[in-house]
């Protein structure tokens, strides 16, 4: 007896159609799974057998062969359990096989026959839609997520028994009561920040133009606290963006919720992270922190502590907004359009500029060299974070996230209108050619740039960075043209490495 069930494997971030073929024939009882299955898939044998029996079905005492086709595609994870169980029951005539033709089946089984949620439901649902199937069976907890795909009949099942009822066309179980994900209660807001006016201003500029930022300041001064509030002033996720984010987070299992991710992600990997942990990798390429931060913020605290290999690996993601991972024959293209916020101590001991700093000139030079390099080229703003004075802590907060966010949204709108028809969507993405055509510089406004350049305090790359930031400052002020004042303000954010001549470095 033969049966077929369609399910999907996740390859990078892409759903790939997998047909579970099953052959049940007389012989010594056995249960074999073939088709480049990894350990978690091969272990499905034990889970499926127990679940089928515990759910009150009969497990055929025959020779069972399961093939996961196409045979060349590497399959991993427990999401095949439900499809395999389904195929066995259909082959044994315990489920209506014809109903299975309309559905893709996806889920993990518990030994007692319950269906457990597993990551990637949204991607699988998208795959089902694309493959022309009319419906999908997913774990009950993942119904809202799969329903994000339009024109697809999503059936949630809590047990193997539910699945049988769904296929027979009987009543479907209702997804358990759940609340739509709201903005989390402990929402981080700039209104909680006392002092740090300069840094908040810089973060607003960064958010408005999509610029990457380097925060430099002693330990414990509030760099992380400030960076965590950056998502709160970024424009809200658009639906298409939210679906991208949900898909990635669901596949990685970084998202325990239900339905759409509404908040921009904030990822803060520890500095011991490996290059593949940061940008993605593995024998079956899977997304890394850079992809988890897609459409959100990637925060690298203690930038100089990250391995050089990890930082080098960030170059392509920063440059292109995606990363191409090649492992063996497999190529995965993972989206990585995030804002980078890096934080560093101003010196190895962390106490500069106070008198407590015990670092020598050589220490400082080493520290600076560690920070320099191609990654810094992609960081438009350098911002010093200082310990606020005591009076600052007592003063009412200067602004709130809502107020700054409105300014950011207005500035972004101007950019989108101006950059329409180009490859860029925000100022930070303007390359040198776009800077020439889309900057709208007022005549003579660039004089301060020449002055700084002549004094050796600005490099050619630094000039481009300054122009991009100046454009954003003008956008925040709602001005068409970039004026001298905007350029001067932008120069204040230029990198320290350029401000310190080699002579005393």
């Amino acid at each position: 007896m033969l049966a077929r069930v369609v399910t999907f494997a996740i390859d990078g971030l892409e759903p790939r159609r997998v047909t579970v073929e099953i052959d049940v024939r007389p012989g010594l009882p056995s249960f074999t799974i073939v088709g480049l299955a990894d350990r978690a898939v091969r272990e499905a044998r034990e889970r499926v057998r127990a679940a089928v029996l515990n759910a009150g079905f009969e497990f055929p005492q025959r020779r069972i062969t399961v093939n996961l086709a196409p045979a060349w595609l590497r399959k991993s994870g427990p999401g095949f359990d439900l499809a395999i169980a389904c195929a066995i029951l259909a082959a044994a005539g315990q489920l209506p096989a014809e109903a299975l033709e309309r559905f893709a089946v996806f889920g993990e089984l518990a030994l007692d026959g319950e269906v457990r949620p597993c990551g990637g439901a949204l991607a699988v649902a998208e795959g089902a839609r694309r493959a022309g199937l009319s419906g999908i069976v997913v774990p009950l907890e993942r119904v809202r997520e799969a329903e994000l795909v339009e024109d697809l009949d999503v059936a949630g099942v809590g047990t193997l028994g539910d699945l049988a009822r769904v296929l027979r066309g009987e009543a479907r179980p209702e997804p358990s009561a759940y609340s739509w994900p709201r903005r989390s209660a402990r929402h981080l807001d700039l209104a909680d920040v006392h002092g740090h006016g300069g840094v908040v201003g810089a973060l607003t500029v960064a958010a408005a133009g999509g610029h990457n930022v380097l925060l430099s300041g002693p330990p414990g001064v509030g760099k992380t606290m400030l960076a965590r509030r950056l998502p709160s002033i970024l424009p809200p996720l658009e639906r298409a963006e939210a679906i991208e984010v949900t898909r990635i987070h669901s596949i990685v299992g970084a998202y325990g919720g239900d339905g759409l991710v509404l908040e921009r992600p904030f990822r803060a990997p520890h500095h011991t992270i490996s290059p593949s942990g940061l940008v993605g990798g593995g024998t079956a390429p899977s997304p890394g922190e850079a992809s988890l931060a897609h459409r959100g913020v990637l925060f690298l605290d203690e930038l100089s502590e990250f391995s050089r290999a990890a930082l080098e690996a960030l170059r392509q993601p920063l440059e292109d907004g995606r990363v191409t991972i090649v492992r063996g024959q497999r190529v995965a293209i993972l989206p990585t359009r995030f804002m980078l916020v890096a934080a560093t101590n101003p010196c190895p001991c962390g106490h500069a500029p106070s008198r407590r700093c015990r670092c020598t000139e050589a220490d400082l030079g080493r520290h600076r060299r560690k920070l320099s390099g191609p990654l810094l080229d992609r960081i438009d703003l350098l911002v010093a974070v200082h310990r606020p004075a005591r009076e600052e802590l007592e003063r009412a907060p200067a602004t709130s996230s809502a107020a700054e966010r409105d300014r950011v949204i207005a500035a972004r709108k101007r950019q989108i209108a101006r950059l329409a028809g180009t490859s860029a969507t925000c100022n930070a993405q303007m390359d040198r050619a776009l800077l020439r055509t889309h900057l709208a510089l007022e005549a003579g406004a660039e004089r301060p740039l020449y002055q700084a350049y002549a004094k050796g305090e600005l490099s050619a790359r630094g000039r481009d960075r300054t122009l991009r930031v100046a454009r954003t400052i003008a956008d925040l002020h709602g001005e068409e043209r970039v004026r001298r004042g905007h350029i001067v303000a932008a120069l204040g954010y230029r990198h320290e490495v350029e401000a310190v001549p080699e002579a005393v470095a």
């Binding site: 740090h196 006016g197 500069a352 400052i473 080699e502």
Partner: protein, 369 residues
């Protein structure tokens, strides 16, 4: 224009040739100044056995034209005790260098440190620890800049830390500076200061008593210090530990009857021990450029800096005053993001005017002319 006589060139060659043996003699606690004051023959006597004869022959057969050619190739000029262009103030040393190899030209050296101590251009040595604090660097740099602007030549050793800070300041102040190296004047030492070396060579001078290409031995540094002390009217120690090479320079300067100054430091800091000890022993207290200028030039007239400040628009002037008064970060100048943006722009304006400078970690420093 190598105005050096053959005998001085031979002497210079011989000292370099025997550098390794001088190093050994130093280990036996022979005072360096006695060794360097020895005549050629006595120096050779210190070499035992066959080597003495061999080196004596080498010295005999030395082709001084080759040495002159080496100087040309390295882009150096060489002057000697007996020739024109040799800084007369060096002759105050009993063990004065026989020859001086100069990057930057002997004419320029004359305008920087020519003549004897009484007449001739004023010059001040600014020296200190290699492991300087950020604050010490700032002081050295301000001294270097202020002195150079006032037309005083800044002499130092181009070492890491204070020395380099002083040179960098002098370069900012117009470039009146002389670096005295322990090794050959064509070899940037330390190597990390290659850029500074090029800048000094461009507008000031780099000098050494060692022939081109020579790598320094340990004894060359105290030897170099005597040249620094002798070239200067005053030696100012910025930061020095209790057993620092800069203290050797200060001691040599005192022996030569030159002024010695020291910048005081926190009593608990190891970096301040040397300078504070000098102060206790009667060195001139140096709080800033003015104190140095008072000592080497006489009381300085109030210069036109006040007038310049008055010409600033109020916004810039207020901020400049605030920065000088210690409110030296954006955080200290502004509260709201809007104020911060304006403060940042104002500071950058001042920076473009050359009135403040950005220091590490987001600090701004008022540039004292």
């Amino acid at each position: 224009m190598s105005a050096a006589c053959d005998s001085c060139l031979r002497r210079s060659w011989l000292v370099a040739r025997l550098a390794g043996r001088i190093e050994l003699a130093r280990h036996e606690r022979r005072p360096l100044r006695e060794i360097l004051a020895l005549s050629n023959d006595r120096l050779l006597d210190g070499v035992g056995g066959d080597a003495r004869a061999r080196i004596a022959v080498e010295l005999e057969e030395l082709d001084t034209a080759e040495l002159r050619l080496a100087a040309d190739v390295a882009g150096l000029e060489v002057v000697c005790q007996h020739g024109a262009g040799y800084p007369a103030r060096l002759l105050d040393l009993a063990d004065a260098p026989a020859a001086l190899w100069i990057a930057g030209g002997c004419d320029r050296l004359s305008t920087l440190v020519g003549g004897d101590v009484e007449d001739g251009p004023r010059s001040v040595a600014v020296v200190g620890t290699r492991r300087a604090s950020a604050e010490g660097l700032e002081v050295a740099r301000a001294l270097g800049r202020g002195l150079a602007v006032a037309g005083v030549t800044v002499v130092s050793g181009m070492a890491l830390g204070i020395d380099s800070g002083a040179h960098a300041g002098a370069l900012e102040g117009g470039g009146r500076t002389v670096a005295v190296l322990a090794g050959g004047a064509d070899v940037p030492y330390p190597r990390t200061k290659a850029m500074l070396y090029a800048e000094i060579g461009g507008v000031g001078c780099v000098v050494s008593e060692m022939p081109p290409g020579m790598r320094p031995f340990a004894w060359c540094f105290p030897a170099r210090n005597r040249t620094i002390a002798a070239l200067s009217h005053m030696t100012v120690v910025v930061e020095a530990a209790s057993r620092s090479g800069s203290l050797i320079t200060a001691e040599l300067a005192a022996d030569l009857g030159r002024e010695v100054g020291a910048v005081p430091g926190a009593v608990l800091s190891w970096r301040a021990q040397g300078a504070n000890a000098l102060l206790r022993d009667g060195a001139t207290l140096v709080r800033g450029v003015r104190d140095v200028l008072d000592a080497v030039v006489g009381v300085v007239a109030e210069r036109e800096e006040m007038a310049r400040d008055l010409a600033l628009e109020p916004r810039l002037r207020d901020t400049l005053e605030a920065v000088s008064g210690g409110a030296d970060t954006v955080a200290a100048l502004a509260h709201t993001p809007g104020e911060a943006e304006r403060a940042l722009a104002t500071l950058t304006e001042l920076e473009l005017l050359g009135l403040v400078r950005r220091a590490p970690a987001g600090r701004y420093v008022a540039v004292t002319p």
